[in-house]
Symmetry: C2
Subunit: 330 residues, 2 copies
């Protein structure tokens, strides 16, 4: 078996309750003996038994993250950031990729202090009162019983269009995945059209390019087709990181110069945007901000059991890079 405080006690010639206090840096024990005990503990390689500690009821300083859909790259970035952010706090994080309920059970067994749920899709009836829980994802219409953090996608699109408008663009196309079953995609799409109307920029169905998917080549394909039809806008709004990668690739292949001949702005505010062939101007809530907000909300919820509002929409920001320019005067 492992070494316990009793072992330490006996070799230190004190009672184990004293050892416990000493190890917890209690003020109820003389500096002298405290030091002695700590030293012995270190020498013996003592490690407290977590199970025992928790049996006397205490918090674990661990937060669980439920992440059933690990294959989406964008979320991987977010998870990394969250992990980094968490590392700055006294908390650590464990993940589960199992289905929500099973993950929840596991976490409950381990008595994590709280859980973060990446609930892109379904919000099943989960027990809200059993354990502090916040969720990141689309704030659907369903009735939820826990705080939700989400990005304001509509606002993001508005900002994008506004930005392009200021640059003089009046001929703008949206290239993204128009999937009625995916609330996130729909919100971006609707954000686009709404913004276009707001800024009084005319557009038709032809200006909405449905990629039919979220991958690199979906964006590539869509733009390729567009180029062949000779309907060149002055600016493109890309629906996501991967899609935009395909967009600029296709543009480059066809010798359409960015940003001189065409401007491109992309949704998704992640650092990788800077490392594409052309550093891409983008719009969205930055993953860093998102991560920060998520972990601090979680911790606040854990420690105060109360959060300001039930659903927070994060404000997006626009990061200017090298892919947009004022429209040329012909």
């Amino acid at each position: 078996m492992n070494i316990t405080i009793k072992d330490i006690a006996s070799i230190a010639g004190v009672s184990y309750s004293t050892v416990s206090k000493a190890l917890n840096d209690s003020s109820l024990v003389k500096e002298n003996t405290k030091r002695k005990i700590v030293k012995i503990a270190k020498d013996l390689g003592y490690e407290p038994n977590f199970a025992a500690q928790r049996l006397v009821s205490k918090n674990t300083k661990v937060i669980g993250l439920i992440w059933p859909t690990i294959e989406r790259t964008v979320l991987a970035t977010l998870v990394t950031k969250i992990s980094n952010e968490m590392a700055k706090t006294p908390y650590s994080m464990i993940l589960s990729v199992d289905p929500i309920q099973k993950s929840l059970d596991t976490f409950k067994k381990f008595q994590v202090d709280g859980v973060i749920l990446f609930g892109e899709n379904t919000l099943t009836e989960i027990n809200p009162n059993s354990i502090p829980l916040i969720s990141y994802g689309v704030s659907g219409k369903k009735n939820y019983h826990y705080p939700i953090i989400d990005a304001n996608h509509m606002k993001a699109m508005d900002d994008a269009i506004n930005y392009l408008y200021e640059l003089g663009h009046r001929n703008i196309k949206y290239v993204g995945n128009i999937s009625p079953t995916d609330p996130l995609q729909m919100e971006k799409y609707q954000g686009f059209t709404k913004a276009m109307e707001k800024y009084n920029i005319s557009y038709t169905n032809e200006d909405i390019l449905d990629t039919g998917g979220l991958d690199w080549y979906h964006g590539y394909h869509a733009v390729d087709k567009m180029l062949k039809s000779n309907h060149l806008p002055t600016a493109i709004v890309g629906g996501s990181y991967d899609i935009s990668g395909g967009i600029i690739r296709s543009l480059k292949e066809n010798n359409v110069h960015i940003p001189d001949e065409i401007s491109v702005i992309s949704y998704d505010n992640i650092p990788q945007m800077a490392h594409l062939e052309i550093p891409l101007t983008c719009i969205g809530v930055s993953v860093e901000e998102l991560a920060e907000k998520i972990v601090h909300s979680a911790i606040t919820l854990i420690e105060t059991k109360k959060l300001d509002s039930e659903v927070t929409k994060m404000i997006p920001s626009l990061v200017e890079r090298a892919s947009c320019a004022t429209v040329r005067n012909n």
Copy 2:
């Protein structure tokens, strides 16, 4: 506080040790009272206290997976498969994306029964005797103290070349990332050259196309350049899933028909290969097999404390799809 076996005992009118036995389906308790107790437990919504259970020393039936580099998509597939495979066993899985040592500490605290390490890169000095551990990744030269599961990349390349050889190909190019700092990439590259020599197929440096990266467009670019130089082989070996995606895209763009005009075989045996523009024939250890092997090795190690060999190289297999054909007789 939560409800305990004592509560159940008192309302059932028995001692709590009886309850304990009943709940563990012991044969030492009459069927009748057992049923009664179980029912009460269920009615009361009793949930055993995990910490207490583990305090009396028992295994957790949980395996920890350390995965510091979550951003690599291929591994995401593997993790998913592992999770699924694990679900078939009595074990469940939790992940940590923290640095290895920190992850290990966390898992040790939670007393997981064993850990799986995705140690692509560094194998720091980790305590081998403290907790059953197996690793997946490149079997480097470093001295390790734990079982390693790896894929036999050399063999995979050999199989690929052999396959193409049988189809009559004598003009084969390798398109992959030649990165001296990445052991995995080097092993694939060397596997290619070695196999070419073995089958007596002549090749020059021109036949090794260094993509300079692992992404989609790296493969795209390399092939595009190749096509412009008019050095067309009869077959291409793609170095990885993403790269191959770019390869076939480029080929298609340039109206080089697969497989009539050129055959393509790719490294990485993952199901997604079937969903590319052209269902790709591929080579490598299938993720399913890999996942299966990994979880069963882990469990074996946990339950018997002994594994057959220290490092197992998984045998790759070739999956025929629509991207290879016999070379045309001109």
